[in-house]
């Protein structure tokens, strides 16, 4: 028994050589073959769905893609930390700001859209809510941890309202619609299609986004790439962004055709898809490379400041432990892939 278990010197040397060879192996072929890309994404009415439905992401990245549907940006963050998500498409600016503050090993590589009016406060028209003071004693719902939640808390803070003046409930979009129909809530901060359903069912828009955008509560949907994936496979990352660029071009040039494809992919009618798509400001890839948004490599744009401001707010909310210097958010934006994708 024992002589079987104790290796001879020759076996030991052979084993060590084998181990060394195995350790050296991944160094060479890393660039050659791109492994299956794990992409975390939302089912939503965005041009990304065109590229997904048409297989453009696979074509341009020259790789197989494993699509992982997520329900929140938090899941993308957790997936990247655990190494099971390589690319996150559609993650909101607040989970991204949280992730960069916490040192999650990923970079913001491009934007999808500036959310603007697409996420907005909807209140019950019969409640006659016209000024911030009218919100006292009201029940509002929003998906916690989302960009809408961030905006809603920003609205309360900038108007001197506290969580004891207003009840804020954590509900996912579909449950917001149900709670609204039962008249359990007086208002909600959410996106379409939930927002559209509230508006159709006795709701009215209470405009907050213009003032909030000016005060530094800009929210956006973004694309992130895990460092451990993007660094060895830059071509694939550029390819993914090219695929999104193609989809965005199709939407700009032919919104009707694009809406039909998006509708099918997201499981809504072409009309609903078209209405939802219209609410977002999809920033053209070239424009993202200007100082107003992401900037260029070495010359980070103003969006880094938005991320920092978002992070500072999240610290106040006890959502994250600490925010970082502006440089951390500037380094968290990596526009080299985008620059090559539009070249």
């Amino acid at each position: 028994m024992s002589d079987l278990l104790i290796p001879t010197r020759r076996q030991l040397i052979a084993g060590a050589a084998g181990l060394a060879a195995a350790a050296a192996l991944p160094l060479r072929p890393a660039r050659a073959a791109v492994p299956t890309i794990n992409i975390g994404y939302f089912i939503e009415t965005k041009p990304t769905m065109i590229a997904k439905a048409q297989g453009w992401f696979e074509d341009e990245a020259k790789a197989k893609i494993n699509w992982i549907e997520v329900a929140s940006g938090a899941q993308i963050n957790a997936g990247v930390v655990g190494g099971s998500i390589d690319i996150g498409i559609g993650i909101g600016s607040s989970p991204t700001a949280a992730g960069l503050s916490q040192g999650i090993p990923y970079k913001l590589i491009a934007m999808l859209d500036n959310i603007g009016a697409a996420e907005e406060m909807t209140v019950r028209a019969s409640d006659n809510i016209k000024s911030p003071a009218d919100f006292k004693g009201k029940k509002l719902a929003t998906p916690f941890g989302s960009t809408s939640h961030f905006r809603l808390l920003g609205f309360l803070k900038t108007n001197g309202l506290s969580l004891s003046d207003v009840t804020v409930l954590d509900l996912p979009p579909e449950q917001i619609v149900a709670a609204w129909a039962r008249k359990d809530i007086d208002g909600a901060y959410v996106w379409s299609p939930a927002k559209a359903k509230l508006l159709a069912d006795g709701g009215e828009v209470y405009k907050t986004y213009d003032v909030l955008d000016e005060k530094g509560y800009v929210i956006a949907d973004l694309i992130i790439a895990r460092d451990g994936f993007a660094q060895p496979h830059p071509e694939a990352v550029v390819g993914l962004l090219k695929a999104y660029g193609r989809a965005l071009d199709l939407y700009t040039s032919n919104p009707t055709e694009a809406s039909a494809v998006v509708g099918t992919a997201a499981g809504v009618s072409a009309q609903v898809a078209e209405d939802n798509l219209k609410e977002y400001d999809f920033v053209p890839l070239k424009e993202q490379l200007t100082a107003k948004w992401l900037g260029t490599p070495g010359k980070p744009g103003a969006f880094a400041e938005q991320l920092q401001h978002t992070a500072e707010f999240l610290v106040e909310q006890k959502s994250i432990r600490k925010s970082r210097d502006l440089a951390v958010y500037q380094k968290g934006i990596d526009t080299q892939y985008l620059e090559r994708a539009v070249a």
């Binding site: 938090a74 949280a98 719902a141 954590d170 359990d184 909310q317």
Partner: protein, 258 residues
């Protein structure tokens, strides 16, 4: 070997805890594990202290604990009392058993999350759906325990009581119920476990309060210090609830096991 066996059990327990804590401290302080996955001991300490002193998002820590205990107490209390009554009836009367059994058997293995959305649609988003969810978790377990308790009463004892001239009510009160109490308590302990496990699901409904919600919300931003502090708290609360039931069991069914 004999030397080891002579050591008291609690020493082994403490040694196991120390090994886990030391491994944790070494792994986190040594930088082996990111603090997104696990907090360092000092982060956990300061996170826990912060929760205690400043509360969490609108409620004090005591407020979160109180609301969770209230939900568990109401759901478990109503569910176990009604469940036990139903179970006793089912045990005594085969007709009631035949009537209620399919529903109880249907409900018992059903994962609570399966009907979560329905509860929101039916009962809204206040406290009602949360308590109903916990109630539905407690009811079938205690009903089955009480029914089986009644069924397992030794027929010899019932016959003995009968031959001594006891009425049906007397047999139930003095023979059946005391014999079934042991199983009823086992059912109650099972049910508090299930109710407690369902608490997080219940607090997912339009949450903004409760320990379960606190853990979920902190997890959203990978706040591992709050998450672990919350988990430790919820575990201690769970052990305390279980011990309370054991205490009650020893007082009420003091003859059991003798």
């Amino acid at each position: 070997m004999r030397y080891l066996r002579a050591r008291p059990q609690w020493l082994v327990t403490i040694a196991a805890i120390i090994v886990v804590v030391v491994t944790w401290a070494a792994a986190t302080w040594g930088g082996l594990v990111s603090d997104l996955l696990l907090p360092t001991p000092d982060e956990l300490w300061s996170g826990g202290l912060d929760l205690m002193l400043n509360g969490y998002k609108g409620y004090s820590l005591g407020g979160h604990i109180g609301l969770s205990l209230l939900r568990v107490g109401l759901g478990f209390g109503i569910g176990t009392i009604l469940g036990t009554l139903l179970g006793l009836l089912m045990g005594v009367s085969p007709t009631i058993d035949a009537l209620a059994a399919p529903f109880i058997e249907f409900l018992r293995p059903l994962p609570q999350l399966a009907y979560l959305v329905l509860l929101i649609v039916w009962f809204g988003i206040g406290e009602t759906p949360k308590i109903v969810l916990l109630f539905l978790a407690a009811l079938p377990v205690s009903a089955v325990a009480a029914r089986d308790g009644v069924r397992n009463v030794s027929p010899a004892r019932v016959l003995a009581a009968k031959s001594l001239g006891a009425s049906r009510a007397q047999i139930f009160r003095h023979v059946v119920l005391p014999s079934a109490l042991g199983e009823i308590f086992i059912g109650a302990r099972l049910s508090i476990g299930i109710v407690y496990a369902t608490l997080i699901a219940a607090e997912m409904i339009a949450g903004s309060s409760g320990i379960g919600w606190l853990i979920l919300d902190a997890g959203r931003f990978l706040r591992s210090d709050y998450v672990v502090a919350g988990i430790l708290l919820i575990a201690v609360m769970g052990i305390a609830l279980d011990r309370l039931l054991i205490l009650a069991q020893h007082r009420i069914v003091h003859w059991a096991g003798r």
